[in-house]
Symmetry: C2
Subunit: 185 residues, 2 copies
DNA sequence: TGCCATGTAGACAGACCTGTCTACATTATG
DNA sequence: CATAATGTAGACAGGTCTGTCTACATGGCA
């Protein structure tokens, strides 16, 4: 009957699900408290303000998403051809609601500037994960940056158009960027 | 002393500036009313609910932004090389706060589904504006779709990283997409 | 035994939000 | 002149939000 998880973890889990699904601003503290089955005072002992919870949520999301992404890339072959199938897996998930970081920047960057830094750091790691599956070359880092940017575009596109359209266009950009003859230096 | 613009236009102008700068959800009706110098009852006669105002705002923004974009492309030469300089102009604007439509999808799609359709229509017209400056070819429409997606990625990137980084990466994608040898059909 | 961290339940304050309502002024038009 | 549309000023209701507070329970450890 004792709770399976300590209070802090239950709060963080509940906050993750609600913040990601409904948006940070649209989710009240009271809903997080109800969903985690914790008392209000307990909540405020662990997270003195909602902003603290938001930052903890982004940190948790960062670790969780990146672990999933690295695993998905590996499962699909661990090379450049794995990128689109891995993303397809995500976009097809019925719980897909876009990128938590991009969503948060739009919602919160004005009032919580740390979100910008967290997002920049997150996207840098995404680009690194992409670079790791590209063929070694002098242009690999820049190719990864281009793919990371296109990936963000595709994630957004999938939120107001079909996932298939987003993936198809992403695929074209991936091929164009990788096929491009070495124009560089 | 009579107002330069009819009440409805003043409301829409004020809503545009506030919604775009601070976000739709973060901006209360009272602030729009104060900024437009209109009485509350007058406001509610023109826009029975905030949702009506939001949709009118997006419609107005759509026309205004697209007119600016077409003009900027023309001023920079009206060909494919005009794309990055035109976007540069926008990102360098101190009032730049990302794409109003992408921001709204994140904030509102859950409670106001029309936002999704409006955004899809807006982006389709952006792609058409891009296609108009690309060299005629069998692949022009698909190239424009790819560039539109990359453009969205760049707009986002500029919100948490430097505009220069976003533009540089966008430029690489533009060149890769346009340089790509005809991969057939 | 005594102390303290950690927990529960829930009332409450103060702010802000949307939308309604009363009461009155101005202007154009039939 | 009379009527209707359009405007102003601002109180108010009912809801939601964050964060504080009181009062009490439990379990580990010195």
């Amino acid at each position: 009957m004792s709770p399976a998880l300590p209070a802090r973890d239950r709060i963080l889990l509940a906050a993750h699900d609600l913040f990601y699904r409904d948006g940070v601003r649209a989710t009240g503290i009271d809903r997080v408290i109800a969903a985690s089955g914790v008392a209000k005072l307990t909540f405020y002992r662990h997270f003195p303000s909602k902003n603290d919870l938001i930052l903890a949520y982004l940190d948790y999301r960062h670790q969780r998403w990146l672990a999933w992404f690295a695993d998905a890339l590996a499962r699909h072959g661990g090379n450049a051809a794995a990128i689109v199938p891995a993303i397809h897996e995500w976009l097809a998930d019925p719980d897909f609601r876009g990128c938590a970081f991009l969503n948060s920047v739009g919602e919160l960057a004005g009032v919580l500037p740390e979100v910008r830094d967290i997002t920049r750091a997150h996207k840098a790691e995404v680009a690194a994960a992409l670079a790791a599956v590209l063929p070694a070359s002098r242009r690999r880092t820049r190719q990864a940056a281009a793919l990371a940017l296109a990936l963000d575009g595709a994630i957004l596109r999938a939120q107001f158009d079909t996932a298939d359209a987003a993936l198809h266009t992403l695929d074209e950009i991936v091929e164009a960027v990788l096929a491009r003859p070495g124009a560089g230096r």
